[in-house]
């Protein structure tokens, strides 16, 4: 969960919000807040933020408790990232924020203000989904978008990964249908460049 604290939103504050009990306010750092006041700032109620999603500037209305996942799915109709587990332990909501893989389900929308978000919907021309299709690395497909983004992020860091590294490096995502063997083949093929 380091992505939250590094973005100025405390884990505790977040959990309070996601529990939906009360989340009247969230502390965000000035660089991310819409109003560019110096230092930390308290935001409460509904505010508008912008973020760059798949290259396009988008505006969302958010409360402090609103997750990035809810913004993507309900305001931008980008439903590739999936709501599978509240705590991010399934990896199904993986997206890239500033090039880094995060779980949209455990990332507050306010923490993403003015940042670049990449979702699997933008990866149509990427080699990763094509390899998933070629190796049939999907059954029901509900975990697949999260896996595709996780693989993209993994390959960005480890373009020459060995099989051992692949087996060790893609354990943040769950597939109930059991497509791991196919995903492994897909990633091996990408590393080999075929």
């Amino acid at each position: 969960m380091s992505q939250q604290s590094s973005q100025g939103v405390s884990r505790r504050g977040f959990l309070k919000g996601s529990g939906a009990a009360v989340a009247a306010s969230t502390v965000v750092s000035s660089t991310e807040a819409e109003a560019a006041a110096p230092g930390l700032q308290v935001v409460s109620g509904e505010t508008s933020i912008t973020m760059k999603v798949n290259g396009k500037s988008m505006t969302a209305k958010v409360e402090p408790r609103t997750t990035l996942l809810d913004v993507l799915r309900y305001q931008f109709d980008l439903t590739g990232a999936k709501p599978v587990s509240l705590d991010g332990s399934s990896g199904a909501s993986t997206v890239l924020v500033g090039g880094k893989a995060v779980m949209a389900s455990t990332t507050l929308a306010l923490a993403v203000a003015r940042k670049e978000v990449t979702t699997c919907e933008s990866l149509g021309g990427d080699v990763v989904p094509a390899a998933f299709v070629e190796h049939d690395a999907q059954q029901c497909g509900f975990c697949t978008p999260g896996f595709v983004v996780a693989v993209r992020a993994f390959l960005n860091r480890h373009p020459d990964a060995t099989e051992e590294q692949i087996r060790a490096g893609l354990n943040g995502n769950i597939c109930r249908c059991g497509t791991y063997a196919n995903i492994l083949q897909a990633v091996i093929s990408l590393v080999k460049g075929n």
Binding site: F132, D136, V148
Partner: protein
Amino acid sequence: MAEVTYSWPENHKARLIGKRISRLDGMEKSTGTAKYTYDINLPKQLIVRALGCPHAHCRVISVDASAAERVAGVVLVHMIKAPGPGDDPVEIRADGTLLVAVAAETEAAAAEGVSKLKVKYELLESFVDDHDLQAAEAKKRTKKAGGGIELDEALGEPGDDDDEEEWEEQKVQELFAQSKYVVEGNYGIDTITHCCLEPHGSTLHWEGDRLKVNLSTQNVSRTDDGYADALKISADEVDVHCEYIGGGFGSKFKPDYWGITAAEIAKKTGRPIKFLLTRDQELKIGGNRPSGFIDVKLGADENGVVQVWDSHHWGTSGFNGSTVSVGNFPYVFRPKNWRRRATGIITDNEPSVAWRAPNHPQACAITQTAYDDLAAKMQADSLDIFLRNLENIDSPEKSLVYAEQLRIAADLIDWRKHWHLHGKGNRRGSVVEGLGIGIHKWGGTANSSNCLLKIHPDGGVESYCGTQDLGTGTRTICAMVLAETLGLPIDAVKVNIGSSTYPFSGASGGSTTVGAVSESHRRAAQEVLAQIFDLVAGKLEVPADKLEASNGSISVVGYSDKSMSWKQACSLIGIQPLEVTSIYKRGDDSPLSSSNVAGCQMARVAVDTDTGVVKIIKMVAVQDMGLVMNRKTAESQIYGALIMSIAAALFEQRINDPKTGAFINSELDNYRLPRLGDTGELVVHFHEPESERARGVIGLGEPPAISGGAAIANAVCNATGVRVPTLPLTPKRVLDALRTAKG
């Protein structure tokens, strides 16, 4: 038109069938544009969340919804299984049972509304222990769940004066006394949950009196009646759609009570409703597989062939108190003499629903382990013992098939090289390795299916069928069959599935769907083609039976110059499309499909005796399935099934708190499932001699999900020399078993 004889193309002529074809919707799934029920956002929709009961057994006395109703964005609070003002208390028998629904403008507001509900409960004593039969008996929580006995005719019959049961008991004891080897053991497997990644639920709205439902369902054609019954409307007023479903392993056949709630709230509010279970609710009430525990005694002759089997098993399917069905004990094997008995335990849990190959994985895991313990006791090779016992199996005609499959699997896993007697392998530090086997069977009869096939005068081809694609690749199979039959490229046919407004097709359960759609689509395409052949024959002045469709044209066999393009041929249809609706009824004798497959799996594992951690080194699956349709997706089914077997063998289990009954690991960080790094090397082998192809299509989904658990459990026993009796074989259980064995 001559009568159409249904058949599959010969192997060397098939262009698509039996080949590796990429699934047609792969790109949509991989780039997140495939729309699942959860993803469909309707204008003005409300989101519903519900309060799940936090207690396993209680009475709900009253609900105070006033604070919830005051939450900004909350539109409606609706009682599900809770009393309204002045109503009698409602008894709840399972943690997670949905009590009250809150409909709101956003997910967050709905969740906040739920958190503001004030409910008064009266706690009742709960009981959740399914391991301890005596404890259940003491609490009067047991129910008889069937049984029976069969003794070899050579043993004679009880005399007129004999008490039948006493006579049988005496014979069974005599058989044990005559046995060279007697094994007594107890084995078990815990309850697991479906845990579909897309939880159960719907996004729906009313259009006047018509209910339009997007439902995450395995049963597109036949959930309308469930809505109709509950809502007092008729089935023709309900349309059900499901283009994509995020996981369905036997639990998504009905609207479920929360689906009815969604329709009721949509009616009350006049707005579309999205109501999917939370992860915690999906695990608690979305569906679970019954547990099974067994006491076994078996007796074998000097060759290790089991002569007598005597077992009593128990387990729970929740508050309706059933267990794994007794009919399959021992699994696949059927000694000449057997006695078996089952007892269900009533626990305060949601009743179980079908899970991939209902009853088989548990029966396999808790009986074929006893066969392996026989090998251990004899200090014999487990493979030899499995092979020798093929002389007594429940489908004797399959014994040669199993023998061949075991031989192939043994080669693939290098059995002879890695085999050692139980507990006698080399130790590397604290790590020991072992091998294990399981064998399985399944029916896989094609379900009923109808297909409407339309050929347009411009050559366009479209099909309609109310089936669904659970991820097995149904959509792709439909297209392959049509394109193969009509001699067209696969992208020339437009397949429509996933709507109850299309012709009926059976539910996807029991490995029946690929057979079903292969039947209906092949029949429709062959019938259409016969009509087009008649038209072309007239035009080309050749007999229709000399025509064939291939490479986008219709030509005379042997005379490629006498031909017509598909488009030209279709222009002969006239101005209206040619339509054919095929009808296939389950059980109809057909040359296109049949049933009954066999399979075996072997596992090679490494066990760390210091930490109790079991790692899969390699698993091999050998499987027959009649005619292989799509080699690529069929292989994926088996890989997936192996991984699910690893899940149930090593990781997943429902854990109830013994005191409160609460289901305490209902989130994914604690409900453990294997990850990519946990699966080892997986090898899939299709067992397909020509005799198999000739059987036509047979369902594949369930069979490879059965025997992996037994294979892994047996491999762990082979590695350590100690039986870890209950699956999943968690590190703690492995260490406990090792400690107990040491004394």
